[in-house]
């Protein structure tokens, strides 16, 4: 169980390495909320966009009298249309994520939480709205929302392998799934196709422990899943290595393909590597989908 306070501090550390970027919404019409993102067109917002001659139908109070006084026409002061993006996170908190092969490595769950909260911080700083489907936290903006996110992220799941939850996804928003994706891949496929039908784009981050990539075992071994629900005994673990790696590669390939088909992006991250690079990727992956 991670302390929400320390989790937030650490996440701030990771997020501190990035200047706030502005996520781009690729669809204007939907999920329009007033935010700080200039849309390069007139609309509802705070920043000045342009003066235009007043037309029939403009309210009298929208006329900029100071500008109009300098000319014979009345002018309306238009403001830039600003929108906010809402991002729905799903972070796998299942038992399999609580695995760390070495004492000096963080568990996958830890990495997933820090990563997703760091992303949340970046997004909220940029004025986006972030929700957490795995913890039932609705999409909100504002710094104080981070505390709720951190709180919800710290909760553990009892299942052995997690499966993505798409119930809270608003149409045409963004989604981020962070998991090891070792469980049922069909559930992931269902979730993704559901997200695709709602017009949700996003990113899949697969977090793996270095040992899961290397399979450095040998000899007679009984493998158990973290929750204990699955078990497999072998006499020569070393012989299984190639076949295990094949299956792992196959899983990654499937996920990649799924992501491609649904307009998502997929990346594998290892807990042995630095979190900042994957955060950067993740941030740009959300921001730059067209």
């Amino acid at each position: 169980m991670t302390q929400p306070q320390t989790l937030r501090t650490r996440a701030e550390d990771v997020a501190g390495a990035f200047p706030p970027l502005l996520a781009q919404a690729d669809q204007l019409a939907a999920t329009v909320m007033v935010g700080e993102h200039g849309r390069r067109r007139a609309g509802v917002g705070d920043s000045f966009w342009q003066y235009r001659p007043a037309q029939l139908g403009d309210e009298a109070r929208s006329i900029d009298w100071r500008r109009s006084a300098r000319a014979d026409q009345n002018f309306v002061r238009e403001k830039e249309w600003q929108t906010a993006q809402s991002v729905q996170l799903w972070v796998d908190g299942s038992a399999s994520m609580h695995f760390a092969s070495e004492p000096n490595l963080v568990t996958k769950a830890d990495r997933a939480r820090v990563l997703s909260l760091a992303l949340s911080i970046l997004l909220i700083r940029g004025g986006e709205r972030v929700g957490l489907s795995s913890g039932g936290v609705p999409t909100r903006a504002g710094q104080s929302h981070l505390i709720r996110l951190a709180d919800a992220l710290s909760a553990d799941d009892v299942d052995d392998y997690g499966c993505p939850d798409t119930s809270a996804m608003t149409p045409l928003s963004r989604g981020v799934f962070v998991s090891d994706f070792m469980g049922d891949v069909d559930a992931v496929e269902r979730a993704l196709s559901e997200a695709a039908t709602r017009g949700v784009r996003g990113a899949l981050v697969q977090i793996l422990d270095p040992q899961e990539e290397a399979f450095p075992f040998d000899g007679r071994t009984i493998f158990q899943s973290m929750g204990g629900s699955l078990q497999h005994e072998t006499l020569k673990a070393g012989d299984l290595r190639d076949r295990y790696l094949d299956r792992l590669a196959e899983r990654k390939d499937r996920l990649d393909r799924l992501a491609c088909e649904t307009g998502w992006q997929f990346m594998t991250h290892h807990t042995g590597d630095a979190a900042s690079s994957v955060l950067l990727w993740l941030y740009s992956a959300i921001g730059q989908v067209r």
């Binding site: 501190g16 390495a17 990035f18 200047p19 399999s96 994520m97 695995f99 092969s101 070495e102 996958k108 392998y161 090891d180 070792m182 469980g183 422990d209 040992q211 899961e212 399979f215 450095p216 075992f217 040998d218 000899g219 007679r220 071994t221 009984i222 493998f223 158990q224 899943s225 973290m226 699955l230 078990q231 497999h232 005994e233 072998t234 006499l235 020569k236 673990a237 070393g238 012989d239 299984l240 076949r243 295990y244 299956r247 792992l248 899983r251 630095a274 900042s276 690079s277 950067l280």
Partner: protein, 918 residues
């Protein structure tokens, strides 16, 4: 005791336990290794995979063998094995232990003592009486039979003698009476007396011989031939090649005994002697006191040298050194002819010669010396020099020693000298009178044809007669002598050439020079020469080849010395007579060594004392070691050794194997890599995080350079200041940490050489966010401590017209991750002036050797392998701008390092164009 070859067992029944090994084998083979339980999320992928075969559930046979060996070692170990269990020597009746007791015994004397001790122990158990007799020191009368315990206390003090048994030792053996058994400890050198002694002893009882099989080596006395010393090493048996080395020992100029020269040689397989030449400069040769065969500690392996090897250094100085004259008229010609074969001649000016401290100084017709020269010559005489003067026209014409006796003349001289038997004088040429009793020339035959036609005359004086050592038939002095301090002055009243007398033409001249110890003597003195003289030992050799003080040995006669056979009355050593020293060595020039041949009926045993070795401890230790290997091997077989949880076990194993520290020495291959491209270097601080950042920072800078400029650096390299050659790196980045260790002395000299030869170091204290330059941060203090011994010139903050501001980009700020303005470089010379119309001062040539700042450039430059920036700089666009400027500073810096003041020179371009009339 149960014996198995040389092995004995204390508890042989335990060996039956070995029969259970096959049963154990079968039992162990049946038990597979226990499985490990691992939690592993990836098990989801494993479900449904089956093993190829089920072989590994049985223990591998190698492991089984290991375990069996361990069990076998334990069983055999507890059976109490003993290597070489002792067997006792039996016998009865009196026992004579006969030693040769010669120098050849010294080689393995302690082994002989051990062997004797064991023999005495056996004799004690057998209740026999024993006599121990060395043949070099046979007792008078009956054999001293005593209890073995008595002898055991005495053999510790028994030492071999440095000479061989006397030739008449057989007489002593024949004179023995009674029945006794004999153990003869032979020294392994054949002698004529051996057979006679053996047969005499065999009449008294059985004889057993103990002899070491090791070869005996010795040195023959050194010989001097043709300006070269040769030493001959001899050995008793051929058959194998053997490398030896011979060392010449002597006194160094400070008077300390030391090895002067060492020469290696090889006995060929069938050679019993090898001649080793020593080609030494005279200075060194005259100091040699002995030659030693290295690694052999016997008197035979040492040969002392005496005067025979010495060549005297004679300095010849003539008053009239005109080489235009005829060679035969040269005052020195006959002296050179006489002395050349036997002495080393020195030429040169008097003051130079005296520095060389010659033995003899010859003045041929030299009249006066300056006061300074005279004092030096007198000092040299006091220290034992021999000044030999010859008269001549100049000496006769000068006023030297006329009224008062000159310090450098033995007598006063009368004006003019005299000439006899010439065209303008009367009388016959004079001949030499026979030499008187007290003359050093006594005994030399005076040839009748030696005549004197002219001479300088000695002034009659009360002490004249005591100074004359040779005179003419009419009683006028021909050679006079005076002692000065330790030395002496000898004056020949005639010339050194044949102008005034025919003496230099005669053999007598050479003999006289020889007698006066001007020239060296023939190698060894003849018996006639030694007749009637007495010699006292100044140092004697013991059997182990050590030169000891002679204490108060009685003097020996010359006749005895001439025999050159060392014995109790004349131990080998150095003997001194009146004016020379003679060495008596164990060997002579014709000594040969041979092994004794014993008759077949005689039992010959070696000296080796086979000691009991209890093998139990070794076997148990071996079993433990095997089990330890088994632990590791079992872990490996069951996958626990390299598994994820085995880290601590591995660490323990690796630590216990005492791995050598990771030595990062630059190999030639590295050097080629580093020099074939431009490589930026960073100083390895020991803090791995800082080092990684340095590397990433330089990587970022290198890539930037590659993209933007014609500098295309390879990946940066960490530099170990102690081990690596710095000259390969044009640029070093040196981040300072607060707890960095000071470089070693070698590193400092490396660094200073690097800075002087045009290298540049960028010191980065990385603290510009918290500290002003030089102000109290730990890194700043550390930098001061580190830089104190470095050869760093006066510094100043980068002036606005410094060449660094324009080597590639035009810059005025040098930010890194922090944007402090405190960046210091070598100060411009004080006389640098801003010339009217020039944008920049004409600043110092060359490259500033250091740039010091705290802006943490490496973090601003740092990129990871995918070219992502690793650290944020500033905020937003201004931060990116700052990073860009940081990169530009890096580019400018490397440009400055590589192109020097090139951009500074561009200042003159308008001038140059102007002069060219453009």
């Amino acid at each position: 005791m149960f014996m198995l070859g040389p092995l004995g067992f204390l508890a042989p029944w335990l060996l039956l336990g070995l029969t259970v090994l096959p049963i154990l084998w079968l039992l162990l083979r049946a038990v597979p290794p226990a499985p490990i339980r691992r939690q592993f999320p990836g098990v989801a992928f494993l479900l449904g995979l089956t093993d190829d075969d089920s072989q590994s559930d049985k223990t591998p046979w190698l492991l089984m063998l290991l375990r069996m060996l361990a069990v076998a070692a334990v069983i055999v170990g507890f059976a109490g094995p003993i290597l070489n269990p002792k067997t006792e020597r039996t016998g009865s009746g009196p026992l004579l232990i006969l030693l040769d007791g010669s120098w050849a015994d010294a080689r393995d004397w302690s082994a002989k003592q051990d062997r004797m001790d064991e023999l005495l122990g056996d004799a004690e158990r057998a209740d026999r009486t024993v006599a121990v007799v060395p043949l070099t020191d046979v007792p008078e009368g009956a054999l001293p039979f005593q209890s073995p315990s008595e002898w055991r206390t005495r053999i510790a003090n028994l030492a071999p003698n440095p000479w061989a048994p006397a030739a008449d030792v057989a007489d002593w053996a024949n004179g023995l009476t009674g029945e006794f058994e004999t153990y003869w400890m032979s020294d392994g050198v054949d002698r004529d007396s051996r057979d006679a002694v053996l047969s005499a002893l065999e009449t008294r009882g059985p004889v057993t011989v103990f002899e070491s099989p090791r070869a005996t080596l010795a040195l023959r006395p050194a010989q001097f031939e043709d300006g070269e010393i040769s030493v001959t090493a001899i050995r008793d048996v051929g058959g194998v090649t053997r490398d030896i080395s011979i060392t010449a020992h002597g006194l160094d100029p400070a008077g300390n005994e030391r090895a002067l020269a060492s020469v290696a040689a090889t006995f060929d397989a069938d050679e019993q002697s090898v001649e080793v030449p020593f080609d030494l400069p005279p200075e060194l040769r005259n100091r040699v006191t002995r030659f030693e065969l290295d690694g052999v500690r016997t008197a035979g392996a040492v040969t002392l040298t005496d005067d025979a090897l010495r060549r005297r250094e004679v300095a010849l100085i003539a008053g009239r050194e005109d080489r235009e004259g005829l060679e035969l008229l040269s005052p020195l010609h006959y002296l050179e002819q006489a002395l050349e074969p036997t002495a080393d001649l020195i030429d040169g000016s008097l003051t130079d010669i005296l520095l060389a401290n010659p033995d003899v100084l010859v003045f041929a017709d030299v009249a006066t010396l300056t006061d300074g020269e005279q004092d030096e010559v007198l000092d040299w005489l006091d220290a034992g020099g021999l000044l030999l003067r010859f008269a001549g026209p100049r000496l006769a014409a000068s006023d030297i020693s006329r009224t008062t006796e000159d310090p450098l003349m033995p007598v006063r001289l009368r004006v003019g000298g005299r000439s006899v038997g010439g065209a303008m004088s009367w009388g016959e040429p004079k001949t030499l009178a026979p030499f008187t009793e007290d003359s050093p020339f006594l005994g030399l035959r005076v040839p009748a044809d030696v005549t004197v036609t002219a001479q300088v005359m000695a002034q009659p004086d009360p002490n004249l007669s005591s100074r004359v050592i040779a005179e003419l038939t009419d009683g006028t002095p021909l050679v006079t002598r005076k002692s000065v301090g330790e030395g002496q002055i000898i004056l020949f009243h005639v010339t050194a050439n044949a102008e005034w007398s025919s003496l230099p033409l005669s053999g007598l001249f050479v003999q006289m020079l020889e007698r006066m110890a001007v020239s060296s003597r023939p190698s060894s003195p003849s018996a006639e020469e030694l007749e009637g003289t007495t010699w006292a030992a100044t140092g004697v050799l013991d059997a182990f080849g050590r030169l000891n003080d002679a204490a108060n040995l009685a003097g020996i006669t010359g006749a005895r010395l001439a025999e050159q056979t060392p014995a109790a009355d004349m131990p080998p050593g150095l003997y001194a007579g009146d004016d020379r020293a003679v060495a008596v060595n164990v060997t002579t020039v014709d000594t040969t060594l041979a092994r004794p041949t014993w008759p077949a009926r005689i039992t010959v045993e070696g000296l080796a004392v086979a000691s009991e070795v209890l093998l139990k401890g070794w076997l148990i230790a071996a079993a433990l070691a095997l089990l330890a290997i088994d632990v590791v091997a079992s872990l490996a077989v069951s996958g626990r050794l390299f598994g994820p949880r085995a880290t601590t076990a591995m660490v323990a194993i690796v630590a216990s194997m005492a791995f050598a520290p990771d030595v990062r020495a630059q190999s030639d291959a590295d050097a080629i890599v580093v020099t074939s491209e431009v490589v930026l270097g960073y100083v390895v601080t020991g803090d791995s995080e800082v080092d990684q950042i340095s590397e990433a920072g330089l990587r970022g800078l290198s890539r930037t350079l590659f993209r933007r400029t014609s500098i295309e650096p390879a990946d940066p390299i960490g530099v170990d200041l102690d081990a690596d050659e710095l000259a390969f790196f044009p640029f070093l980045y040196w981040p300072i940490t607060g707890d960095q260790a000071l470089p070693s002395r070698a590193a400092y000299s490396n660094l200073n050489r690097y800075l002087r030869s045009g290298g540049m170091i960028l010191f980065d204290t990385r603290d510009a966010d918290t500290a002003r330059f030089g102000g109290g941060s730990p890194e700043g203090r550390r930098l001061q401590a580190i830089a104190r011994p470095l050869d760093i010139p006066a510094l100043e903050p980068i002036p606005s017209d410094h060449v660094l501001t324009r080597t590639f980009y035009l810059l005025q700020d040098f930010p890194g991750r922090y944007a402090s303005r405190d960046v210091w470089v070598e100060a411009a010379p004080a006389d640098a002036q801003l010339i009217e119309g020039m944008p920049f001062r004409n600043l110092n040539d060359g490259v500033t050797p250091v740039v010091i700042g705290g802006n943490d450039w490496a973090r601003a430059w740092a990129v990871d392998q995918r070219n992502n920036f690793m650290f944020p700089v500033g905020r937003g666009n201004s931060g990116e701008r700052q990073r860009e400027i940081a990169y530009r500073f890096g580019v400018n810096l490397i440009m400055h390092v590589l192109t020097g003041n090139y951009k500074s020179d561009q200042v003159h371009v308008p001038d140059l164009l102007d002069r060219l009339g453009q």
